[in-house]
């Protein structure tokens, strides 16, 4: 660990010419220290991701595309998906952001293992099949659920089958994406600058606002993009918890799945729409951090 870090440091602080040569080599992509064999599995990996999308393009009925995409069902699903994903991403930021900061920087001295336990639970939606998450939400907030029963009898609130259920399902599955990205950025940034700010008399709140936030902005942005993309694609938790009704709970992925039952051309067109929206989110929203040029 220490040795490796020293080695890297040596490279970084190498005298002028050597350093410049290394940068130039990087720019021309000659792949310094890259074993040649790695190109082969890398190419296969790329094809595995890219070819299915190509398959969709191949299957698409381009002449019918405009009418397929402007059907009332498609427009309503697109509107619902964009709206719910935007609200869910905001909720991820409002609650997942502070949670990531607490996980990265918080100290609970009396229970050192507690943080690790909390982190494991927070990351659960990443590994859990979304449909399991949906069922879990249903058993918490459904008619006979722990919380749902109380809400229903006390306030007459019933969450399943509503747009709120869609948002809760999306927030549940997407929040860990934001937390992982942000917590990683916070750990990489370290606390040196905040310490310096404190010696200059900044309060924790001021140091957080003026030092921490600007430092982790790229990580936060990439976390938000990931969370939004995950919300747009959410299927399993939504169908299990919120059901499927046009205009209320039937988001784009749910409509794609349903359309596939009877109308393959329609399903393909909607799938491509989802691909395009996701690409826009990734390309426009991609912070420089994910390009590897910090």
């Amino acid at each position: 660990m220490t040795a490796a870090r020293t080695g890297l440091g040596d490279l970084e602080e190498a005298p002028g010419p050597g350093r410049r040569r290394e940068r130039a080599a990087d720019r021309h992509g000659t792949g310094v220290g890259l074993p040649a064999w790695m190109w082969f599995p890398a190419a296969l990996g790329f094809l595995l991701i890219a070819l299915p999308v190509f398959g969709l393009l191949w299957e698409a009925d381009w002449a019918e595309m405009p009418s397929l995409l402007t059907s009332p069902a498609a427009l309503s699903a697109l509107r619902l998906s964009l709206l719910t994903a935007a609200v869910s991403t905001t909720l991820c930021l409002l609650f997942g952001g502070p949670l990531a900061v607490v996980l990265a920087r918080g100290r609970i001295n009396r229970f050192p293992g507690l943080m690790r336990a909390i982190r494991s639970i927070v990351l659960l939606p990443l590994v859990l099949p979304p449909v399991v998450g949906g069922l879990a939400l249903l058993f918490l907030l459904g008619a006979r659920g722990l919380v749902g029963q109380g809400l229903n009898t006390a306030f007459g609130i019933f969450i399943p089958f509503t747009t709120i259920a869609v948002i809760l399902a999306q927030t549940f599955v997407a929040m860990p994406f934001l937390i992982v990205a942000l917590e990683g950025a916070l750990r990489t940034a370290g606390e040196r600058y905040e310490a310096t700010a404190a010696t200059l008399g900044a309060s924790p709140a001021l140091a957080f606002r003026r030092v921490t936030v600007p430092l982790v902005l790229p990580g936060l942005a990439s976390g938000l993009v990931l969370a939004f993309a995950r919300c747009m694609g959410e299927f399993g938790a939504t169908i299990a918890f919120a059901g499927s009704l046009e205009g209320t709970t039937r988001t784009l992925p749910l409509l794609v799945y349903l359309q596939g039952e009877t109308d393959i051309a329609g399903a393909v067109a909607l799938s491509l729409l989802l691909v395009v929206v996701s690409l826009i989110v990734i390309v426009v929203g991609r912070p420089r951090g994910t390009d590897g040029q910090r």
């Binding site: 459904g142 006979r144 019933f158 089958f161 919120a242 059901g243 499927s244 039952e261 009877t262």
Partner: protein
């Protein structure tokens, strides 16, 4: 020490299983059925892949046990899914010996490109029933009751067979059910009623029967307007036409009828 003996035991199990597989694969004219002393059955043995509508899961699994007992050396495996999914898989070249569909239109998708051996046979019918919580707390008595605004009803989306049937009974009754959700398949509808999140759901009689008392079924007269026919056929892609035919005869025969009727299916 313990781990090592555990490994050894696991190894023994694996090799036994491998031997079993080898023996099964050796089939054909082989010695698998030798002990039974019935030459023709040994010949007909082997693997059989049946693509069947999800609503047939319980009945076909029961029939499988009886069929395998009666035909030593056979191993029936199922692919249970929505009929449209199965029809799509078959037309895309999925290897299957028999297709049992929950409706005629999905069977047509397979017969039109002439992927079946001969004409399909109808072997069962299924009709809709209103599923409600046990003891029917909301007092649902007819389709008309489902239009009450304080009642949460879940139905199938019109794109899937149970949803198409729902549309037909709605038309026959002259009602428009304000459903809170239009699900992808009938099991999802049933689950919403079972968990108490929906007060009522339109499902098949067989689903109510299979729920083991978790939901109660309410009959309504318009159900006869949407009778689902279940056709079954041997597929051209079969590698064991004789065994496939025997399965079809078993399902359409007396034994099949008995099991299907017990599960709530009607006879065609």
């Amino acid at each position: 020490m313990n781990t090592r003996s555990a490994y050894r035991a696991a190894g023994a199990v694996v090799s036994a299983a491998a031997l079993g597989l080898l023996a099964a694969c050796g089939g054909g004219g082989g010695d698998a059925g030798g002990e039974a002393g019935q030459g023709d059955q040994a010949q007909a043995g082997g693997p059989l892949t049946v693509f069947a509508a999800a609503s047939l899961t319980g009945t076909f699994e029961e029939l499988e046990r009886e069929f395998e007992a009666a035909n030593p050396g056979t191993d029936v495996t199922f692919n249970f899914a929505g009929s449209s999914t199965l029809a799509q898989q078959i037309t895309q070249g999925a290897p299957a010996d028999v297709f049992a569909s929950a409706d005629q239109s999905n069977m047509d998708k397979v017969t039109e490109p002439e992927l079946t051996e001969g004409e399909p046979t109808l072997f069962a019918t299924n009709t809709l029933q209103i599923a409600v919580a046990p003891q029917n707390p909301k007092d649902v008595t007819s389709l008309e009751t489902l239009t009450q605004p304080d009642l949460r009803t879940v139905i199938c989306a019109p794109q899937v067979p149970c949803g198409a049937a729902t549309e037909r009974v709605e038309q026959a009754a002259g009602v428009d059910i304000p459903a809170v959700s239009e699900e992808q398949d009938v099991k999802a509808v049933l689950q919403k009623v079972q968990t108490g999140n929906a007060d009522a759901g339109l499902v098949y009689k067989t689903d109510v029967a299979a729920s083991g008392g978790q939901v109660e079924g309410v009959d309504f007269p318009q159900a006869s307007e949407a009778v689902n026919d279940y056709p079954i056929a041997v597929l051209k892609s079969t590698r064991n036409a004789e065994l496939a035919q025997r399965w079809v005869e078993f399902v359409t025969g007396d034994e099949g009828k008995r099991v299907l009727e017990a599960a709530g299916f009607g006879s065609p």
